[in-house]
Amino acid sequence: MITPHHFLALSGVLFLVGAAGVLVRRNALIVLMSLEIMLNAANLALVAFSRMHGAVDGQVAVFLIMAVAAGEVAIGLAIIVNVYRLRHTIQVDALTSLKN
């Protein structure tokens, strides 16, 4: 039998997938997508808790997170486009001007 706990476990695994993507991938666009997957995992956890307690507060929090995610993507993609114009690459390894 599937309970909300299973969805919580799924959300944990999904968060790991996103975190691994952020750490391992070197393409800025895919890093951004992995960030979105992590936010999605948090949303799934909130909805699972909301179902577990029979209160819709968690679902309201999901709306707030979605709006933040949309704003983050808008700014993030604008930054990526500008970085590409400036450096002609979006590999995060190539962006080292703050390193030393």
Binding site: F7, A9, L10, V13, V17, A20, M33, D57, G71, I90
Partner: protein, 171 residues
């Protein structure tokens, strides 16, 4: 939905959500782009439906598959990457350990879910519908909602400011 059907649906959703988000960049450039990258987002939307949150599920599809994915595909086309940019580069040193960690963590998570499972309260048909969620959103969380509108306004201004810069090389 019957117990068995619900169970099968859950494992399909879980498989799509976890296994889908590893597209190579080449497949993104091809027309498979949206089906490949939207996989986890659609799977999460299905999970929301299964958790009696239909309104959140609809917004998930609208916002992620509709807005964010289109936006990302648009940027991929806009910056028009050359072929040498598309070569997949990953950190390979930690690969074995990462896969092992992933398998162990997945197993631990689901064993934990089975061991600590508790029944969820039964909810009425209105749970998660537009009216119920909106009532809480516009009363208890009205302030957060207003702050959010301010945040989106700032994001719009920031995006326009970033896009409006003329020439970086001459600064």
């Amino acid at each position: 939905m019957s117990h068995l059907g619900y169970q099968i649906a859950f494992w399909i959703v879980a498989a799509v959500a976890v296994l889908r988000p590893s597209p190579s960049f080449r497949s993104v450039i091809r027309s498979r782009a949206r089906s490949g990258w939207s996989g986890p987002f659609f799977a999460t939307a299905a999970a929301f439906l299964m958790l009696n949150a239909p309104m959140v599920a609809v917004f998930q599809i609208l916002v992620y598959a509709g807005a964010i994915m289109v936006f990302i595909i648009f940027v991929i086309m806009l910056i028009n990457l050359r072929p040498q940019e598309l070569i997949e580069t990953r950190v390979r040193a930690v690969r074995g350990g990462a896969i092992l960690f992933g398998v162990v963590a997945t197993a631990a998570a689901f064993i934990g879910a089975i061991v600590f499972r508790g029944g969820a309260p039964s909810v009425g048909a209105s749970f998660g519908q537009v009216e119920t969620v909106a009532q809480v959103l516009y009363t208890r969380y009205a302030f957060a909602f207003e702050v959010l509108s301010l945040l989106l306004l700032i994001a719009v201004i920031g995006a326009v400011a970033l896009a409006g810069k003329k020439d970086f090389t001459k600064e």
